[in-house]
Amino acid sequence: MNYSVAFLTILFKEIRRFTRIWPQTLLPPAITTALYFLIFGKLIGDRIGLVHGVSYMDYIVPGIILMSVISHSYSNVVSSFYSTKFQRHIEELLVAPVPNYVILAGYVCGGIARGVLVGVVVAGISMMFTHTTILHWDIAAAVFVLTATLFALAGFINAVFADSFDDISIIPNFVLTPLSYLGGVFYSVAMLPGIWQKIAQANPILYMINAFRYGMIGVSDVQIELAFAMTGGLIVFLTALSLLLLHKGIGIKN
């Protein structure tokens, strides 16, 4: 059997889904980030001056882009896969000879596609406020895609365990958003007092944002190698967990 056809069917279905409802999926991040750049970057940022030798506006651009990638890759998979369960059309996939890894790859790549597209939109918006040049394309692109992959996987696991629509909003609202804001989007951890610097270093999003910031403007609070190792390790762990859940049928089979 040709599994690539099954994979592409799931992927294109996912892409059609979020592009069909673009006023809900693509427009809000554009507006929100434009406001971030206007308020934090322009109005407040002009009074802050330089951070690590770059303007405050340039400093926050990578974090805001990656924050959008994180929230949208996550929310795409969690909402789509949970709806698939809720409306029971997951049964279409379970009845068909589609291996679990193809189901996972289809949904995760759908999440990556939305994360990347939103990231590109936000990056485009940022160009209206500043003209940041990307110093290390390879690092920036790798962090961009790996972060989207990681959070798409996390969204998938959330959807597997979710029993109601409330369950798919708890993690984004009470975990992802606080961790993103505390992950150094708007500040350098070097600005924090001693103990808070140690606590901040337990936040994995801090490493991703700083690695991406290094890729874009060459500034980071963390070791890039450590950021890649952590992201890669988490991807491997969440992939294994997702496949185990699918194999056991947890949350999707009676």
């Binding site: 059997m1 040709n2 599994y3 056809v5 099954a6 592409l8 069917t9 799931i10 279905k13 698939t84 409306q87 029971r88 059309h89 049964e91 279409e92 996939l93 379970l94 009845v95 068909a96 000879p97 589609v98 049928g249 089979k253 009676n254």
Partner: protein, 301 residues
């Protein structure tokens, strides 16, 4: 060759409920097979396991000789499933619903388009191909699920109450479609609460109750076990009391309508003769209920 072979299939749910207690069942290739049982008997669990929607506790299931555990892809490729409840994405068009299913079975796009058109035309839905599926009527949604289940040309089609909640006209047209599909060589397993449907369409039957198969035979041999037939007679002149005829149980249903239980040993000739002797003229005669219903109730009670 058996289309479906089930051996000692057991299922216990996490809450301890034992849904299947060791089911053995064979369905022959080309058969139109009825699987009947009261609510909660284990039909849906059995179909869920065959369709890979429910994990079994133990036992073996093979489809056209392919073990569902060891040769999962080949086994699944042989099956098409039409579930009881609507389970397609209601925000997609009829065409997309069927095309996506073709994609899940690995059918390349050109071929999938051709098969989708064939299936939608066969189910008389081609004109509705661009309609968002939630806007279809109940009968159309059922037919869309049949079209979707057939897009990969399955050798075994499982229809789980496909005509539930549809009107008589649509039900009849769906019967014709199912018979046509069966004639083309597809083995069909049908579950239904309309016993008349099973009696008209199916050649073999199994009855499941409390997680066990309590009857499995040819439909004709099962029906031949009936000892009594029930008829409704329309009579020419009104009566105030039911006539009394030895050996027959007669009830006056309305002043010109008689319900009669006719033992097979007595037959209809003696009944008509006795009615004629009492100057009761019969205008017409029809079956009161379908025969399978009586047998079914006897077996499951």
């Amino acid at each position: 060759m058996t289309a479906l072979s089930i051996q000692n299939l057991k299922k216990t749910y996490n809450n301890g409920f034992v849904a299947l207690k060791g089911v053995d069942l064979d369905v022959q290739r080309g058969d139109f097979f009825a699987l009947l049982g009261p609510n909660g008997a284990g039909k849906s669990t059995l179909i869920g396991i065959i369709s890979s929607l429910v994990n079994k506790t133990s036992g073996l299931v093979s489809i056209f000789g392919h073990d569902l555990d060891k040769d999962n892809v080949a086994a699944k490729t042989c099956i098409g499933v039409v579930p009881q409840e609507v389970n397609f994405n209601q925000f997609e068009t009829s065409m997309s619903v069927v095309m996506n299913q073709a994609g899940y079975y690995g059918i390349p796009r050109k071929q999938a388009l051709r098969r989708t058109e064939q299936c939608l035309r066969q189910m008389e839905l081609w004109d509705k191909r661009d309609v968002v599926s939630r806007r279809l009527s109940g009968g159309m949604k059922r037919r869309l699920m049949i079209a979707r289940a057939m897009v990969h040309s399955p050798r075994l089609l499982i229809l789980d109450e496909p005509t539930a909640g549809v009107d008589i006209e649509i039900r009849r047209s769906m019967w014709e479609m199912m018979q046509e599909v069966n004639k083309q060589g597809t083995t069909i397993i049908l579950t239904t609460h309309y016993l008349e449907e099973a009696e008209s369409l199916c050649r073999n039957i199994a009855i499941i109750n409390n997680g066990q198969i309590i009857e499995k035979s040819a439909m004709s041999s099962l029906l031949s076990r009936l000892h009594t037939d029930h008829f409704v007679l329309d009579i020419a002149r009104p009566l105030s009391l039911a006539p009394i005829i030895a050996g027959y149980d007669i009830v006056l249903n309305a002043d010109t309508v008689l319900d009669v239980a006719v033992p097979k040993s007595h037959g209809l000739n003696r009944l008509f003769q006795a009615l004629s002797e009492q100057h009761i003229e019969v205008l017409s005669l029809r079956n009161k209920s379908n025969r399978l219903e009586q047998l079914f109730l006897d077996l499951v009670q």
